[in-house]
Subunit: 429 residues, 2 copies
């Protein structure tokens, strides 16, 4: 397989996530882009730092020119963060006709227009899916899939740290300071949490989304911003009483040619899909005039989710690179993977029997389950449908075959009237 | 602006949705693809049928050759449904080197491989985003954004009709027959509901997703299928008691090179995001080894959501068509739209005041709100933080300016200790 060379600017959380995925999913990535992706060089600040699991020691450099001026490197991935020198490096790479993938929200929010124009002039790609909402492909969705829509509004939970804090405060009646400390302990919040808890991070992301959604270059300074530090358990309790959940929402709405842009704590109705977004998850709710309501939900940060977005961009650039050869779907392997027979399926099972209300029937049924290797996790018996009663079992994980064989024998027990229902209980993982 | 000519095969629900969006969003679509999209011909069965809002009467034809053999038509949109003659027409169009967009799940699920190979041979695009989950861009996400991931599993609510029925049964303790009749009354279910309620529709969609996720050509006959007709209110009640919601899930999992494919009623834990997907909405939950958990939620059917997906595909094909000119992001209009000042923002407001617990204070506060044009929808007063008490107001919609001016005066009332909090209540629409 032909190789394509890339350079990495930065090797922090996201950079090492990108590296890990490139190793782990080498085969899949090769299949999906048609090339073997080779990391030629990685720019780091500290050459002496020990980096586990990387054998090629000469891959690291502290000289940006080794990447920016190497003609063999076709694509540069910028994951160093911050405005400078990231901006300078990217401009240099663009000038040298390298495609760019970046995860840098602050840079795109503050200097996006300059970079986009430079990329356009040099006829290279500039992709930044990873800059907003981590692994959630919201930029791709707005730019591609929803491109036939007029977008009315975007409402996002774009910051995982604050969502974790507010979720904790809501679930455990915790105050802000305690929840923040817990978030810091879990690595969800930085030692200086200002950028997250005061809403700056969400402002950057909203700025990027609003430009794409409305096709108008908005400035991050125009976004109204209010953080979550003043939210108290008392307010959360009143919110609950009134039927709401408090979330830090990033909101962009267009009405009559005017755009509203705001990041602030918000009462969200309890039944709205955004209200259910807990933990450090992100979610983006989009309303378009054709598609209606759409929501995307996933991990908004972390090495692998963000790396997934970076590499999604990378693969797209490579696929476009020689479009004439690769435009068309590759087709599928024919039956390369075996589809399992349903009898092999492993699951927990909900089994409801109608039985005669006489002593001893429970024991007989349980014995049959046991004889077929099916163990039970819950049993409910109530006298609702006399003269028969419902006898409800939930099994531990077992095979479809075991449970079906058990039921075959169970329905032959004289006190069992019939199998009323069997429904699979999904592990969801 | 240069024109690009397309032909429509079929003018039912989806076809007329495509037409409506092309009219309504003409400007946006032109901007996003760089061409004026012109529908040259529409193939219909009944030429005499009256079709409102379409002036060009010669646009309709009952002769497929008018589209399939017109060299001026570059892209064919197939929205007629069914296997034949849709398959025959698409193959003919491909042979004549036209790109294809289709919403036809049954056709892709049963003959996808034949069509993909034909398209590859003729070097044309074959896109079918609209065939699964309507407006939700799940195919695009799996093919593009998640292409660096090994996908472990997909769990989807892929059929809106059955989700509506199960949601009704759950919320209103309704039996299946009654809920089905209601779904039919609302137009969510067909007169013959078999394809939906027996799970055939979901099987087609799962087949398509599983192929893309696992890169292996699976056959729809290999999918285990069980419908929802046997679900009773009793089972739903037991599920609730055990902490679950019953959903018709379409599940594809890969484990150790083997694929499990099943569509059946499933116990979903109440706290799982899929459990909250109500009404006729669809949702797809994807787990990848890099991205982690991801969920997409939206309208899985209907003229405009499905039309949105069809036209997203169309725009992508057009953008790829002359990639060298159009590959690069167009940049944004500079400030074409005015960002409103926060004072203009319209919202409802939650206002919590700490006040001294003396008579008359409520009246004084309410008077100030009224004086500034702010009307109130809820008031809560409880004695929790003595000697002060919280006085909580939720306003009707008003401007930020009005509410801020009112509060300025309210905090000067001698019995008001302070403004404890002000949080915006979002309309979410």
């Amino acid at each position: 397989m032909q190789k394509i060379k890339i350079g990495l600017l930065g090797f922090g959380t996201v950079g090492s996530g990108v590296w890990k995925i490139l190793q782990e999913n080498k085969k899949i990535i090769g299949k999906n882009c048609g090339y073997e992706v080779e990391v030629s060089k990685i720019l780091v600040q500290d050459m002496t730092k020990k980096r586990d699991g990387i054998e090629q020691k000469d891959i690291f450099t502290d000289n940006p020119k080794d990447i920016l001026e190497d003609p063999a490197i076709e694509i540069v991935i910028e994951v160093m963060g911050g405005i400078e020198p990231a901006r300078e490096y990217i401009l240099k790479a663009i000038e040298n006709r390298k495609h760019i993938v970046t995860a840098n929200k602050a840079l795109i929010a503050t200097h996006g227009d300059q970079l986009i124009h430079a990329a356009k002039k040099a006829q290279v790609e500039l992709c930044y899916e990873a800059s907003v909402a981590g692994g959630i492909p919201i930029i791709h969705a707005i730019k591609e899939s929803l491109s036939a829509n007029r977008i009315y509004n975007i409402m996002g939970i774009l910051n995982g740290t604050t969502n974790y804090i507010l979720s904790k405060m809501t679930a455990e009646n915790m105050d802000f300071e305690t929840a923040l400390k817990e978030a810091q302990g879990k690595g969800y919040a930085e030692a200086d949490p200002t950028s997250d808890v005061e809403g700056h991070d969400a402002v950057y992301k909203l700025t990027i989304l609003a430009r794409l959604a409305f096709g108008s270059y908005v400035h991050f300074e125009d976004v109204y911003r209010e953080g979550i530090t003043k939210i108290t358990p008392i307010d959360i309790e009143y919110a609950k009483e009134l039927g709401y959940v408090i979330k830090l929402l990033a909101i962009a709405k267009e009405e009559e040619g005017k755009i509203a842009l705001r990041v602030h704590p918000t009462f969200v109705p309890q039944q709205h899909p955004l209200a259910a977004v807990g933990d450090a998850f992100n979610a983006v709710f989009v309303k378009g005039n054709a598609v209606g309501d759409l929501m995307f939900y996933g991990r908004g940060a972390g090495d692998l989710p963000t790396g997934s977005a970076v590499l999604g961009d990378l693969i797209n650039i490579i696929k476009k690179k020689d479009l004439q050869k690769r435009l068309y779907e590759n087709g599928f392997d024919q039956n390369s993977k075996r589809v399992i027979r349903m009898e092999e399926n492993q699951s927990e099972y909900y089994v409801r029997l109608l039985v005669k209300d006489v002593p001893g029937v429970f024991g007989k049924v349980a014995t049959e389950f046991g004889r077929h290797g099916v163990s039970l996790s819950s049993v409910i018996q109530k006298g609702r449908e006399e003269p028969s009663v419902s006898l409800v079992f939930v099994t531990h994980e077992t095979t479809e075959q075991n449970v079906q064989m058990a039921i075959k024998d169970i329905v032959n027990i004289s006190e069992v009237v019939k199998l009323a229902n069997l429904i699979r209980v999904e592990k969801m993982s």
